[in-house]
């Protein structure tokens, strides 16, 4: 079972990389645009910190770490998650999801691995560069156990992002015209750019439990700074597994609503 799926993953990866080699020109363009985006998106941060030394207990250098994690995860999202799942939306609309469902393998696995766009992951490198710069600003290095914890959290964050995408895509089974789901998702994810302690009241609840943005960027940044309690780390791991489980159930239920409907 496991061997079969890993072989399948290999095949899909090879197909994607062949495709990616074909569109090398895109690499430069996409890279330039995402660099441009990353740095322009920092303007509000600069404006905020132009007014204050620290916000909700986060200095500029520390908040920059959160931005770094945001950028890195955006790279993961755009390189490995959105390309395939955008295809699902298209499949649902055209009714061609049949061909996927007919194949003798798990449909969620198949649709999640159809396409990877390695060129789009320039943001991962930008994110790492931002880490280096913010530790330079802070004038110290990351704590070593914290660094290990943040690697674990990279895994949980990716899992959370993926599960959130599966939930969004599941909505495509119910809403007819869904080109804008990507924008919807991105606009929510955008809030992860800020340290979560900025948000108070209902928003804090939403961003921790319903849409776990706090877990994705603020926790790893805190881990790097060596101030994330062990309890929070465990909670993040358990929470992301629960979230993934829920999204799997929702996916299975939504797929039951798929009616093919040619065209």
């Amino acid at each position: 079972m496991l061997r079969r799926y890993s072989r399948l993953l290999g095949v899909q990866l090879r197909a994607s990389s062949l495709l990616a080699m074909q569109y090398r020109g895109d690499f430069l363009l996409e890279g330039v645009i995402s660099l441009f985006w990353t740095f322009t998106a920092m303007v509000p941060l600069l404006v905020v910190y132009g007014e204050r030394q620290a916000i909700a207990g986060w200095s500029f250098g520390e908040a920059l770490l959160v931005v770094g994690w945001f950028t890195l995860l955006q790279g993961v999202l755009e390189g490995a998650i959105t390309p395939s799942l955008n295809g699902v939306v298209e499949h649902i609309r055209k009714g061609t999801l049949d061909f996927v469902l007919l194949k003798p393998a798990d449909a969620q696995f198949l649709v999640s691995t159809t396409r990877f766009e390695p060129w789009r992951s320039t943001n991962v490198l930008t994110g790492v560069a931002i880490f280096v710069y913010s530790f330079h600003l802070l004038g110290r290095g990351p704590s070593i156990p914290g660094l290990l914890a943040s690697v674990v959290l990279l895994g949980t964050s990716t899992l959370l992002l993926y599960s959130m995408w599966i939930l969004t895509v599941s909505a495509a089974f119910f809403v007819v015209k869904v080109d804008n789901l990507t924008y919807f998702f991105q606009s929510i994810f955008d809030a992860a750019r800020w340290p979560s302690s900025v948000f108070k009241g209902p928003l804090a609840f939403v961003f921790t439990f319903l849409i776990p943005l706090a877990l994705m960027t603020t926790f790893p940044a805190e881990a790097m700074l060596g101030r994330l309690p062990l309890r929070a780390l465990v909670a993040a791991v358990v929470g992301s597994i629960v979230f993934a489980f829920i999204s799997r159930r929702v996916w299975l239920r939504s797929i039951g609503h798929y009616t093919s409907a040619g065209g």
């Binding site: 303007v43 509000p44 404006v47 905020v48 007819v176 804008n180 924008y183 606009s187 928003l203």
Partner: protein
């Protein structure tokens, strides 16, 4: 494509646009949900301003500002760039060209047709804003109300015409969606959507004064929350409408030139 025909057909086109918006109301709700950025920025800025005000804005001022931003974004939305890109690539633009009215008017009508549905979202938010922050949320002088309408119209026109300009570029290159991405980034940062433009460093405010973005969101919001005196408002209004004229001319020119290159593939 005489002017008379256009004027006669436009109300029907608007009705069609409205029916379409009504038919795809679920999609519209997704759109509305994806414009929640003002609420996030509101949370952020009120947190920053909790202890002492920043420039002219205290915490309440920020609440009023960003609720107004949400309202203005709802009312000035346009998506013609993606529409044109899609129709050029699919060749379906040919169908529009067959009609005895310029497709530009048809796009305008379709985009405007969604406004009534969006008003239904925007008005409750505006009322909520008045309840929360009181009179800071709406114009306090009588002239603020008519000028608000004029700036909203100007803001919508700039958004729509910029969409047409960028969409039309699809006739010159393979796809102009990347251009639109760049435009959107600049729009988010420089329009006052994420922070009031007056809070930026002086060089940024000076730059923003001469770019179109501020007149899409920032100006209507500032008029709605009564941030300017009358002379200043009129000066900004004049700049807004200069941009409307510039973009209008550019859109028509690009459209005429681009159309000569159009060959309906497939379709």
């Amino acid at each position: 494509m005489s002017l008379r025909n256009t004027v006669r057909a436009f109300p029907s086109l608007l009705r069609v646009g409205f029916s379409e918006a009504l038919a795809y109301r679920a999609e519209l709700h997704v759109w509305v949900l994806s414009t929640t950025m003002p609420f996030i920025m509101m949370a952020l800025w009120t947190a920053v301003a909790r202890d002492e005000p920043i420039g002219p804005y205290n915490a309440e001022g920020f609440v009023g500002y960003f609720l107004a931003t949400f309202v203005v974004r709802q009312l000035t939305g346009a998506w013609a760039a993606w529409q044109i890109n899609y129709e050029v690539r699919q060749g379906t633009l040919a169908m529009r060209l067959l009609r005895p009215i310029s497709p530009l008017w048809a796009y305008a009508a379709e985009n405007l047709g969604a406004v009534p549905m969006r008003v239904m979202v925007a008005v409750p938010v505006a009322i909520f804003s008045v309840l929360v922050v009181g009179e800071q949320a709406v114009p306090r002088e009588w002239w603020g109300w008519p000028l608000l309408l004029v700036t909203l119209l100007g803001g919508w026109l700039i958004t729509f015409l910029a969409n047409v300009c960028i969409g039309t570029m699809a006739l010159f290159m393979e796809s102009s969606n990347h251009v639109m991405d760049v435009w959107l980034v600049l729009f988010f940062i420089l329009s006052g959507y994420m922070f009031p433009v007056s809070l930026g460093p002086p060089w940024l405010s000076a730059l923003v004064d001469w770019l179109p973005f501020r007149y899409q969101i920032g100006l209507p919001v500032e008029v709605m929350t009564g941030r300017h005196e009358l002379p200043e408002t009129l000066l900004l209004l004049a700049r807004q409408w200069i941009w409307v004229l510039v973009l209008g001319t550019l859109a028509v020119t690009l459209w005429r030139r681009g159309l000569r290159r159009f060959a309906a593939y497939g379709g």
